[in-house]
Symmetry: none
Subunit: 541 residues, 2 copies
């Protein structure tokens, strides 16, 4: 089976997108997930340009990657200097990355108008930069920026740039449609011309989506023989984005029969796409090919009954192949089967005629109408399920809490104090704590109250919280002023201990109340799941 090498540039070109900015920690977490998915290369950033990227390359060396090699990205050396004295090239070597990708100009107007140098000098920059790096790095790639536009404008010069990069030792020549404007016909024509002129060169492809053609052109390039495909998770990138690897990978694997991920890894695609969208804090588009929530959603009527008879009729692939699921919309039947499906995941084999199922369905529909969302908050869902089934005990009751936030012009930061009254069994604890912000203060006061009863809570940490404003009914009946601030908010809290991570949810008009609900669920879940684990062990032992 022919192998195609997937080169992910989410951490570099993806961060050029309008609203995306990543910390070093975000980048590390994404890189590890991409490695788990099994891409061949993860481009970490531009080590010469900023401290975030520099630190990424330092930190990533501490991890033992299973599939991916880390690539550092940079430009050809400054035209007023030499390769040996260029700080950017030095930073690439200092990064310690086993793979280096250098981009250079291949469109004549870019050389003269953007770079401000001559066409022959640019050829030197390409050749000298690559030749300088060649002895020091494992793999060396050359991104020919604007190659397709360059070829259209001045084919001889564009080809001369490629030839120089090849002579200087680049392992792969990556043809870039940087402005994303190339039509499929022109695209194939140019690619064929390159292959004819340089049959011995290995080619890669890097496209942008300004004409909605990035995915198609990438697939065409592979069909014609390209060995490397560059792109980003969910197609993040400047303007209209980069080629979307979540669309390209399944087509290459399932439709063209090529090897582009290690065996068995393709079902990680949907969870990886959702994970990255969480990390960049952008709602994943539900209509995204293969990995979107709606990619295998059927809206009822003719399609649903056909799909039930034979999924092939309205599904081009099996959703499970890419880790996605079929969804049937606007149907009570689907609600019930979803609940049965989900309950089974948590160890309950319920019958659809079980009255609990109806109660659960009613409860969940009511709560979802209020704005609770259990797709992400599975821990809250598991608690709810166990409560309805009478299998979750109450560990504590918060009878009252108060939060006072006091900010004055003279102080650097506002002061926040929380007080909590908590009942455990028959005993009442009344505690107070200060914190950085209301959620932090409340969290500390609750832990103070509970630590005597449940010492294992010391292992647990709140890792992240997310707030979304829900529009809806609340917006209609709000006061003329302060409408937005009176609407519902949903808070998701992520918690963890040494072995697990879990997400809980709260909803209220009041961001503090919503956060409190999610934290209360988080603590209950920790206690509940510890007990469940102990019980399971005892039963086995």
């Amino acid at each position: 089976m022919r192998r195609v090498f997937i080169y992910d540039t989410t951490l570099r070109d993806g961060t050029q997108a309008q609203d995306i900015s990543l910390t070093t920690e975000d980048k590390l977490r994404i890189a590890l997930r991409l490695d788990e998915l099994g891409v061949a290369y993860v481009e970490g950033g531009w080590p010469g340009s900023n401290p975030t990227d520099k630190r990424f390359f330092q930190e990533i060396r501490n991890y033992d990657l299973k599939n991916a090699r880390i690539a550092a990205f940079g430009s050809t050396h400054n035209h007023r200097a030499t390769a040996a004295t260029d700080p950017n090239l030095k930073a690439l070597l200092d990064s310690g990355a086993p793979v280096v990708t250098i981009f250079g100009k291949s469109w004549d107007i870019h050389v003269t108008d953007a770079l401000g140098t001559t066409l022959p000098r640019n050829l030197e920059l390409v050749g000298d930069s690559l030749a300088f790096l060649r002895p020091h790095v494992g793999e060396l790639f050359f991104d020919a920026e604007h190659f397709f536009d360059g070829y259209k404008a001045n084919p001889d010069y564009a080809m001369a740039v490629l030839a120089r990069a090849f002579e200087a030792g680049a392992d792969v020549l990556v043809l870039c449609d940087t402005n994303g404007g190339t039509m499929p016909g022109d695209f194939r024509h140019i690619l064929r011309a390159v292959i004819a002129a340089m049959p011995e060169a290995k080619l890669g492809i890097h496209t942008h989506n300004d004409s909605g053609l990035a995915v198609a052109n990438s697939i065409e390039a592979v069909a014609l023989g390209a060995v490397q495909v560059q792109g980003t998770v969910n197609g993040y990138g400047e303007r209209c984005g980069n080629a979307n690897l979540c669309s390209i990978i399944p087509s290459l694997c399932l439709k063209l029969g090529l090897e582009c991920l290690p065996a068995g890894k393709l079902p990680l695609l949907t969870p990886t796409a959702h994970f990255v969208s969480e990390m960049v804090n952008q709602a994943p588009p539900s209509n995204q090919p293969y990995v979107g929530d709606g990619a295998f959603a059927h809206k009822g009527g003719v399609h649903v009954s056909a799909v039930v008879k034979n999924p092939l009729t309205y599904e081009h692939i099996t959703p499970e192949a890419v880790g996605n699921v079929r969804r049937v919309l606007l149907s009570d039947l689907s609600g019930q089967s979803n609940i049965l499906y989900k309950a089974k995941e948590f160890g309950f084999d319920l019958d659809k005629n079980d009255p609990f199922v109806l109660e659960l369905l009613t409860t969940i529909k009511e709560r979802e109408a209020e704005g609770y969302e259990y797709t992400a908050a599975e821990a809250s869902y598991e608690l709810l399920l166990n409560r309805v089934l009478g299998r979750a005990r109450s560990y504590f009751t918060v009878t009252r809490f108060r939060v006072l936030d006091d900010s004055s012009y003279e102080r650097e930061e506002p002061m926040t104090e929380a007080t909590v009254m908590i009942k455990v069994g028959g005993r009442v604890k009344h505690t107070a704590a200060t914190g950085r912000g209301p959620v932090n203060a409340l969290d500390k006061a609750i832990r103070k109250a509970l630590r005597g009863f449940y010492p294992r809570l010391a292992e647990m940490r709140l890792l992240d919280f997310k707030v979304r404003v829900l529009s809806g009914k609340a917006l209609d009946d709000c006061a003329p002023s302060g409408c937005g601030t009176a609407s519902h908010v949903r808070v998701l809290v992520e918690s963890g201990d040494a072995s697990r991570r879990w997400v809980t949810v709260g909803v209220s008009h009041n961001v503090i109340e919503a956060s409190f609900q999610a934290m209360e669920d988080a603590i209950n879940y920790k206690l509940f799941s510890d007990d469940k684990e102990k019980l399971t062990k005892a039963l086995k032992g």
Copy 2:
């Protein structure tokens, strides 16, 4: 110039999308806008299936359309009846639409598994339905549903269906990639086979985006000779959507040099796309090719300085050609040229050697390092710019605020009270208010304090707020418990009055403090921009 006929099915296939439902009035408004844009056909719906669509066809007759012909959509007749007695075909004729499109099965498993009839009987359904309608309608189109999958499975049968439709009098045979799974190579191969077999037939194309290839395959079909392209505005449609006409039309007009809209109409494309997204109540994706807000947005410093020198360097077309505009974003990647460009937008023609530019750059970089993000919060940026340049006065100073949030087990909802001390000129106002949550209470207390001084604040409303937790430095030095809750948060507040909307930003460890900063900026911006407007008018008058 060769003409290609654009066939819009937003009102029919577009409404199959997950969250889209349109009233008759919505449909009429959209149809009129599409007519103004100049598409050749507007498919209004399925008159036999529901009262909304039936009424649409009655109402649309009262309008004098300039460019578009209205098409009614329906299926081949029921296999247990005859064409002459089929209520669905009768409804198509009763609709009075000058164009009728009939879809029929061309994939053998669909005939047997979904329709539940035999392959020869299906050929009769296709032939009889079209022959029955032919004498009564102006134009008659045949949608060969699942044609590409059908051809892959049973080419002889798929071709037999097309041949029968052609004999029965269909003006255009529309090949559908209904499941959206066909790869470009197979797509061209099948299309070429059809053209070779039926050189005298006019072909149309209807694709879905399940593999991210709907736009590319549509363009390929036109390049090979198809005369009609079916699709939807913004690519709305079931699952991953239909072919996006907003991506296809500009490529056909500007790149392939074909006539697909009347002369001068292409700049209506972006406003039409945004209008339709408003009508279906879905935020338009900013990364949409050609018509997205971000389609011509530049973030990187290198890109911006190149675009300023020569727009061709990073723009594949002139944004104005499709009614869009260039935007320059501010971010940590931004250099001097972004700042100069942005300042110009706000009326400041700064020189790059102006010491203010350096001060501004330093201030912005510092604030961005703390987590402020000006890409979205342009109002905060405009204020900052004017403050650095000494052109924004101080309207008020908040010397202290307190927020008390009190929740008890007995009460339905927590009680929140805010108190504020505000100085305006030499006078101090001390106010208190309750609200639904801390932000709402604070907002009300501030307005109470300011309304005597600035009555025009009564026009202003807070419309939305967004909260994002920023990981980063704060995560490193936080306490062992409550780490996530002690990290930085960024709040974006959207405000508006009768004529404008604006977004401001705040950052703090404390969600209340961050919200307060964004609200403070929002009010300052309202007062500042009102004054600026007044001044501009006075200078002109």
